[in-house]
Symmetry: C2
Subunit: 422 residues, 2 copies
């Protein structure tokens, strides 16, 4: 059991006082200073400067410059933002671009990969992948007469690396995985799996939604082919922010976007009748980007770059180690189960705690304890740790609340199951 | 030649004084009051209330409510906005939803239509359709082994209705057209073409981007099957605003979205492993919507609803008749050619004027005359008329500028051709 983790609020506050990243917390809006927000991996907090930026984009760029603003920055915003995100995920500036949603980008790149490996009929993934990714892949598999194989994790926590490697073969077109799993935070060895996929002649497509901005990602070093990811989680780009996609430079002219949009057209204002995509990454753009949401991505990315991924990772690990250490002492005896890797080397930046009463505990945390975590079916309380703004005091307070809600049975007044949303 | 059109700035101003829609002009931002903006069919002006709304969405909904805001309005925003847009285009509230871009929506609906008419191998369109739509359709045709037939207009202005009807046959899966053509503003008889397509067993898909909010559209009355459209032109929803799509109610459960996104999933927070779309229109959603850009759509739509489509159409016609009347008297002798239907019954809300020096005239209008029109290859100056905020004085000033730029040869200092954008 680690001895250097804060074990009182006073120790936690003392730890925050010497945290070099602590000043960055004030760069985010905290209209309710009492809220313990541990859902930054669902929707990141709002950077303070975003509000002023949006006023500039709305009132000046749109309201005053009108159509002229396209040539004054909007047209190149997708690659300019992509170039910044590239620095967070170990890619070159011209290998990342912002477009559409994660689902649409996954659709585009997975379809492109299947076409580039025509004749191969298997798509490999695991049961730790986002259901939203599985839905997209199911549709693509059906359309292309391919088989989607969803390899199950042996323990529901530590992914399926061994089984995936064993399943790779000459008929696999694509291996596609979440780099960091959305429930357990298990993080795959991207280089090892990419090498194995390449040895089998398959392409790889990584979903970085729970990794980008929270875990060091090294796409180029791993030799990764393709990736997509979300900008509204650890990147703090705003609700439903457009997503990013990555295509390794040498693949860019070999792959084709199935949604052949005019934003990817060569000399687009020639209005020529036949689609002829540009050579570079813009060919993976489709229609016009939602500029207001697009522009809002920048302040959050800038804050991550200012902090640096190494410092962010160090703080994230310190916070999750503290959380797990306190879980072991105080929460495990109350029926909380650790649903994330104990070894930090395999863990992303969130921690899943299971409990038989998880849904009701989640409700009590929100409504009685001022803690906002996330809930994932059937029994996971997911605690997202955003090292840009979460503090050691946040973690201490959250553990205290998790303890109190069960000890004092504060959860018993809530309905036993989450209502269906249809 | 009409006798009731304003023929001096004084007469134009007098006409504005009795225009019942004139007060709505002040509901839009005019930071440069001298600018004559005739590009509202590329990017509509910003409603004054949008700036305050965006501050609320950013600082309160995102900044303060954080993830809770999804259940406080964001999840239902796509159909709530769709229900309002439905009133502008003659559809039921549950037949229109906002999602993605026009290109992505066209891809989803055209693919769904081809699958619903499997065995049929022809897609019919015309050469007046957006190049961006043609690109999308080319990709779909190639993927599905179908043929895209682009029927040419006989005069480049009045569409291809007769030829399209003649080309319909038992092997046509889909007839897809822009309701109002982006260059000439010719507007198809939606009911007649839909009936002809249905008689041949084909589905219809209308692009309403240059019609919605400017021309009365009657999807239900015409029996139209499918439609898509843009929210950043006459709807004033902001740069690159998410687009809308329409699926006739009885078709909604028969058609399937190829981009099987979690936003269309039945009971989406069950996180079930298999895609099972909801029965209603949400099945045509894919990933998470860009909320900031999505929310910004509402003020412009509200202003259109407040004005009413009949009053908007009446004013739009009065403005375009004035423009064409003055063209005939003052601009035709200077080499300007009318590239839109002379008969208002077939004309949308913009007017195309051709000229051998169109590109250079366009530059002179922008840089020397304070007029902002649009240019379309190879020789069209496109004058968009947004009846919510364009005035009779705007039209008079624009004609005077078009006249002066040629009479005084102000255009000669500009390069002869538009530079390529790649």
């Amino acid at each position: 059991m680690p001895t250097n983790i804060p074990r009182s609020m006073m120790e936690a506050v003392a730890r925050d006082a010497i945290d070099p990243l602590a000043p960055l917390r004030t760069r985010f809006a905290h209209p309710d200073p009492a809220l313990i927000y541990l859902d930054g991996n669902s929707l990141g907090r709002m950077p303070v400067t975003t509000a002023a930026l949006m006023q500039d984009v709305v009132a000046y760029q749109w309201g005053d410059r009108l159509i002229r603003a396209w040539n004054e920055g909007w047209f190149t915003l997708p690659e300019r933002l992509g170039g910044k995100i590239a620095q967070l995920i170990g890619a070159q500036a011209d290998e990342v671009i912002v477009a559409d949603s994660t689902s649409v980008n996954l659709y585009k790149l997975a379809t492109a990969a299947l076409r580039a490996r025509s004749g191969r009929t298997r798509i490999l993934t695991d049961d730790g992948n986002f259901p939203s990714d599985l839905y997209i892949l199911q549709g693509i598999a059906q359309e292309h007469g391919a088989t989607l194989e969803v390899i199950a994790s042996a323990d529901g926590i530590h992914g399926s690396a061994g089984a995936l490697m064993g399943a790779l073969g000459g008929d696999v077109a694509l291996l596609t995985l979440s780099h960091t799993l959305y429930k357990s935070a298990y993080t795959y060895d991207m280089a090892a799996l990419t090498t194995a996929a390449h040895n089998a002649g398959a392409l790889t497509l990584w979903d970085l939604s729970h990794a980008a901005g929270a875990v060091p990602v090294a796409l180029n070093a791993a030799g990764a082919d393709l990736a997509v990811g979300c900008c509204y989680k650890y990147l703090n780009g705003g609700p439903g922010a457009p997503a990013f996609l990555y295509v390794r430079r040498d693949l860019q002219t070999q792959l084709f976007n199935p949604i052949q949009g005019w934003m990817g057209q060569r000399n687009l204002f020639a209005f020529e009748g036949d689609y002829a995509p540009v050579d570079g990454l813009r060919r993976f753009l489709s229609g016009s980007p939602p500029v207001l949401s697009l522009a809002a991505i920048e302040p959050g990315v800038d804050l991550l770059l200012e902090a640096g991924m190494d410092a962010l990772r160090a703080k994230s690990l310190a916070l999750s180690e503290m959380l797990i250490g306190l879980w072991e002492e105080r929460l495990a005896p109350l029926g909380y189960r650790l649903q994330s890797p104990r070894d930090g080397a395999w863990r992303g930046s969130h921690v899943g705690l299971g409990h038989d009463e998880a849904w009701r505990i989640d409700q009590a945390l929100i409504h009685q304890a001022g803690v906002l975590p996330d809930f994932r079916q059937p029994d996971t309380i997911r605690l997202g740790i955003a090292p840009l703004y979460n503090s050691f005091a946040d973690i201490y307070a959250a553990v205290a609340a998790l303890q109190r809600v069960v000890e004092e049975r504060l959860y018993t007044q809530y309905a036993a199951a989450r209502p269906a949303v249809t």
